[in-house]
Symmetry: D2
C-alpha cells in the first residue's frame, strides 16, 4: 500500500523516508497506558529534560506537528505585526510555507536578502537591520531568521553564524534559526548544539525532526524562556496543542535518546558526500554549490534526467533552472542506493 516507487530510488526529499525503528517502538510503548493530556505527561517532561541536557542549559520545548508551525510560531513570538523578518531570498519561510509566517504574525513582512549557498550575506544584513528603523511609515526590522542547514544543503560555519548573530544582536533584533535540518548541521560541523544556537545568539530554534527520523513531530526549543508563556497560548490557538501529546513526545524522546538524531544525520550526510564524490568523477555532470549536509545540486544532461526518470528515480529537476537537478539523501538511504544511482547516471551520461 506504500508508494509504487521504491525507496531505494527516491531522492526527491528526506521527507519520503519512513521512521526509525526506535521511534516506532517508543510510540508503541507510549500506547500501553493512560496519560494526562496536553503535555502534562511524563514523555513530554522527558523531552524537556533531554533537550536541556543536549543544549547545556534549561530550555523550554513546544512540540508541534510540522516545521511550518515551528517556524511560524517562533516568528510570531519574535516579531510584532508591524515588524519585519530579515531572511534569505531562498528560505523555506519565504518560498514554501504559503504565507504561514505572515498568518501567524498577523501581517509582519519578510524582507529578502541575498547571499551565496542560500546563506545571508552579512553586508546585506548589516544594511537591513537598520533600514527605516523608527520610521513610522515602514515595517520595523525585528527578527532575523537563518536556515541551518540552508535550503541548498550548505551549512553556516560557527564563524559565519557568529557574525550574523552579532549584527542581529547589536541592532537589538531577535534571532530565529530554522533548523529543519539542524541535526545535519551539527553532524557536519562537529560542534556542540549550544555553540550552534544560543551561544551564537539564537533566541528560538525550530528543531526539525521529521526529515531525520520522526513521523509527525517537530519542536521549538526556547532559549529565551520569557517567550514560553506567549508561545504556549499561540500554540494552543493555532491548533498545535494535541490532546495526546505523549505520542509526539515519545517520537522526539526516542529521536534524542542515544544520539539517534546525530547518527541518522551523520549517515544522511555521508550518503550525500558519497554521491558528491561519485558525481565529481563523471565529467558530464556539473555539480553546483557546497555539499555540507544531505543535499546536492547538479547540472544533468537531458538524456540523464530522462533515463533516471524512466528507471523510476524520483528527484526534482528543472525546477530552479533548466537542467538543474537536486538529490536529497536521508537516514534511510543506503550506500547501495547511492552506488546504484551513480551507476545509472554514469550509464546515461555515456548514452
Amino acid at each position: 500500500m506504500t508508494s509504487t516507487r521504491p525507496l531505494t530510488r527516491t531522492f526527491s526529499s528526506d521527507n519520503t523516508a519512513p521512521t526509525s525503528p526506535e521511534i516506532l517502538e517508543a510510540v508503541a510503548r507510549a500506547a500501553s497506558g493512560p496519560a494526562l493530556p496536553y503535555g502534562a505527561d511524563a514523555y513530554t517532561a522527558d523531552v524537556n529534560r533531554q533537550l536541556s541536557e543536549i543544549f547545556e542549559r534549561d530550555v523550554d520545548v513546544l512540540l508541534v506537528s510540522t516545521g511550518t508551525a515551528a517556524n511560524a510560531l517562533s516568528l510570531a513570538a519574535l516579531t510584532p505585526p508591524w515588524g519585519s523578518v530579515l531572511c534569505h531570498r531562498d528560505s523555506h519561510i519565504n518560498h514554501d510555507e504559503c504565507g504561514a509566517p505572515e498568518f501567524y504574525t498577523a501581517g509582519a513582512k519578510l524582507v529578502l536578502l541575498g547571499g551565496g549557498d542560500a546563506k545571508i550575506d552579512p553586508g546585506e544584513l548589516r544594511t537591513a537591520v537598520g533600514h527605516m528603523a523608527g520610521d513610522k511609515h515602514s515595517a520595523q526590522p525585528s527578527a532575523v531568521s537563518v536556515t541551518q542547514a540552508t535550503e541548498t544543503g550548505a551549512v553556516y560555519t560557527l564563524d559565519e553564524l557568529s557574525v550574523l548573530g552579532s549584527i542581529t544582536k547589536d541592532a537589538g533584533l531577535r534571532l530565529h534559526m530554522d533548523g529543519a535540518r539542524f541535526a545535519g548541521a551539527v553532524a557536519s560541523l562537529g560542534c556542540t548544539p549550544a555553540e550552534l544556537t544560543w551561544r551564537a545568539g539564537v533566541d528560538l530554534l525550530s528543531f526539525g525532526a521529521t526529515k531525520n527520523g520522526t513521523m509527525t513531530a517537530d519542536a521549538i526549543v526556547v532559549f529565551d524562556r520569557s517567550l514560553t508563556t506567549e508561545l504556549t497560548f499561540r500554540a494552543k490557538r493555532a491548533g498545535q496543542l494535541p490532546a495526546k501529546m505523549r505520542f509526539h513526545s515519545a517520537q522526539v524522546g526516542a529521536y534524542l535518546a542515544d544520539d539517534l538524531w546525530l547518527r541518522n544525520a551523520a549517515h544522511a550526510n555521508a550518503m550525500a558526500a558519497r554521491l558528491q564524490e561519485g558525481l565529481d568523477k563523471i565529467p558530464e555532470i556539473g555539480r553546483l554549490g557546497t555539499v555540507d549536509a544531505n543535499m546536492l545540486f547538479c547540472h544533468l544532461p537531458e538524456q540523464v534526467t530522462k533515463g533516471l526518470l524512466a528507471e523510476g528515480y524520483v528527484f526534482y529537476h528543472d525546477r530552479w533552472d533548466p537542467g538543474v537537478a537536486r538529490f536529497v539523501t536521508s537516514f534511510a538511504t543506503s550506500e547501495q542506493d547511492v552506488d546504484d544511482l551513480l551507476d545509472a547516471i554514469r550509464r546515461h551520461s555515456a548514452d
Copy 2:
C-alpha cells in the same frame, strides 16, 4: 514512564486513553517503506475513499493534528472576517480553544446562544440568523456551529438537527458540525453518518478521531467540495500539512476500517450508560442532564469527591458549579473500571 495514575481510575477525559491496537499496527505498516509527502500517498487516498463510502457520497478530506485545527479551519472557510459564527454558549469553540476560531477567521465573532443540554435553542437561532443582517455596523451572521455530541454528552436527535439545519439554510448561512465525539453520536442514534451530516445540511464536519482511538489525527470532512481548494491553502499556512501525512492517514484508515470507530464509540457509550444506571440507584447522588454518549454529570457529596480523589481517581469536579462532577468513559474503559468506580462512590456515599 506513563502516568502514575492507573487508566482504570482515570475518568477525566477520553483523551487520556491510549490508542487502539489496530491503529498502532497500521502506523507500523506505514513505516515499512517510502511514500510521497504532503498527502500524495496511498494511505491518504484510501482515507478519502473510506470516508466517501461511509458518508455515501464523494467527499474531500483534510487530515489535521487536532480538533482545534479542524474546527478553526472549517470556520475560516465558512465565515468571512466580518462574519459571525452562531454557537452554543458552552461550546468547545467558545470555551476551550483560546480564540483559535477568531485567529483562523481573521477576527470573526462568536455569537453565543443558549439551550438545554448544551444544544442550541431553535428559537434563539431563528432570531440570531437574521440579527442585523445587511447592517454594515454589525458582524454578519454567516455560519452556525453545532457540537455533536454536545459538551455535556447529549446528542441532537435527527429531528432536532433537521430543525437547526433548516433555520440555517433558509437564512443562507453555512453549517459546521464540531464532531469531536461524532462517532459517539452515530453510535447513540443508530442512524447513518449521512443522515447526521450533509442530509441535515452540514457543509463541513470536524470528524474527531483522537478521543475515540487515534493518536494524533483528526479530520475535516468536506461535503461542500467547492471549499476544498481554499481549505488546502489555509491548512498549509496554518502548519497543518505534515510532510509525512501517511502517518496521520494510516491512523485514520485503521480507525475507519471494519467499523472500529463505531465499535469503540459504542463501547464508550455503553460504559457511560452502565455508570448512569449504577449512579441512579445511589440516592445520595444527583445526576444532571442527559447521557446519550460517553459523558456524565452529577452532584457528588463532598466526602464522595474527597474519597475518590484519595483513591487515585481522576475526574473534573467543582469546575462548572460547586459539587458538580464529570465522568468521561472511553473505548479503553472496562466494565470492571465502571463497577469499581460505582463501588467506590457507594462506599463513600455511605460514609
Copy 3:
C-alpha cells in the same frame, strides 16, 4: 443639498449635527499655508499640549478619523491576540463596530458582561477578570473597556468607576475607556477629566469629538505613554496617519479651546434633561433608565411614534424592544426644538 429632514426634528443621533463654527474657522486658518505632513505640524503639537493641560499630566495623543478606529487601536495595544476584553453586553465595541476590535487585535475575544444602565456590574467583573487565567485552553482576560457615558446615556459615577478600576488593576488587567461621549460625562459629573480617567486607572481613552462638535476627527489620549510607539505603528498600518494631519488637529484644537467641548456637551445634556422633564409630565409616556447625558429612552404609544414620523421626526424606535424609542440631543439642538418635540408628543398622546 442637505438632508430634506430639518435638523430641528432630527433626534436619531448626535452624529447628524454639523460642526461648531469655531471648528470650521480653525480649519480655514489651517488651510492658509503649508505644513509638514503626518503630524509634524504646529497644530498637532498644540493639541498634545492642550490635552496635557486638560488632563493635568503629560499625555500623548493620536488623532484618528473615527471612534471605531480609536477604540480598536486602543484595544489592540492593551490586549494580545490570545487575550480577552471584558465589556458590557450592550457596548458599542460589541454591537456597532462590525468586529473592528477583533480585526485590530488579530483575533482577541470580547467577553460580555451585564449590568443596569449599560454599566458593567462589579460582581460580574470580579468573576470575569480571573476566569481561566493562566489556562492555556482559554483566551486570557487582558483588558476591561468601559463606556463613559454608556450606550443608554447613563454616566458612571466616580465611585462606580473607581470600583471597576480597582478590580481591573488588582487583577493585573489594563483599562480602556470608550469616551465617544466623554465630554458629556465630564459635564454631567462636574469632575475633572483627570479624575474620570487616569486617576481611576484608565490607560487609554478614546476621546470622542465627532458627536460633540468636530467633523472628522477623534483622538486617543495615551496615559500609559509606554504604549505610544506601538500605537503609532499600529495607526499607520491601519491607514490612520493622514498626510494632512493638521486638518484633524485644527478641528480638535478648536474643540478644546475655550472649553468649547464642555460647553457643547453641557448644552446637549441640558436639552436631554429638558426633554426628560417634559416627558415625565406626560402620563402616557413611560421613560426608561437614567438620563445623565444627552440620550433618553422611553416607551411610546404606537400612535405617538406614527404621528412623529409623519411630521418628519427622525429617531430610532422599535429597535431594542417593541415600543421603545430613543431620542438623542446634541450641541446643535435648541430649546425650541425640544419644546416642539414635547408638544408633538403631547398632541399625539392625546389622539
Copy 4:
C-alpha cells in the same frame, strides 16, 4: 501657527500643500445643516454620481481618510490571505505603509518586481503571475497593483498599461491601481479616466485626492461592483466609515466639480516640467528618470544641497542614493516658486 518654512520653498511632497478654496467652501456649506450619518447623505450620493460620469459607467465609491486605507482595503478585497500581490519593488504599498496591505489582507504577501521608472516590467510580470500557481506550498498570485503615476513621477502609457492589464487578466488575476497621483497621470496623458482604468482591466482604483487638493479625503472607485458589499464591511471594521461622512464627500465633490482635480493636476505637472526645463540647462545638475507628472529626481552637487537647505528649502535628499534629491510640485506651487528655486540652484552650482 503654520510651518515656519514658507510654502514657496517647500518641495518635499505634494502633501505639504493646503487645500483648494473651492473645497474649503464646500465643507463650510456642508456644515450648514444636519445630514444623515455614515454616507446616507446627499453629498455622498453626489460623489457617486460625479465619479460615475467621470468614469463613463456606474461605479461605487468608498470615501476613506487616507491613501493607505484605500490601498489596503482594495487589496484585501482582491486577494485572499493565502494570495500574493505582485507589485513594483519601489511601490508605496511595499515601502511606505508599514505593512498595511499585510494587515488588511490578513497576511497576504507582496511579491516584488523590477522595472525602470518604477514601472512593472512586463516580462517579470508574465513570469510572476504563474509562479507556483496551484501549488499548496506557496502563496498564490492573486492581484497585481500598479502605481499611476509611479513613485518616481513617471506615467504608464496606455499601451504599457494595456500590456500589464492583459497579462493580469489572461492569468485570472485582479488588477488594482494605486492612483495616489491619478489626476496627474490623466492630465499628463490627456486620455479619459475610463481608458486609464476599467478599459485597461482595473478592478479597483485608489483615487487619490489629498495630494492634489482635498484635506482628509481619498476614495476607492469600484469598477467590479460585486466587491462593494465586502468593501463596505471591511471599511466599517477598519474604522473607515465616518459618522459625518458628508465632510469627506463635500471635499471630494468640490474636487471633482468643474474639473478642479484636472486643473490642479495639470498645474502641478506644468510646474515640474518648468523645473525640469530649467534644470536641464544647468550643466552641474544630472537629472534622473522621466518627468511625466509632478515629481523630479536629480543629482545635486553637495554644495547645492547645502545651499538650498540653508535658504530654508525643504526637499528629500540623500535618501535613495547619496547625492540624489527629489523635488515635488503641487497645485499650490507657483511659477515664481519654481523660478526662485532654479535661481538658487544656479547660484549654488556656481559656488
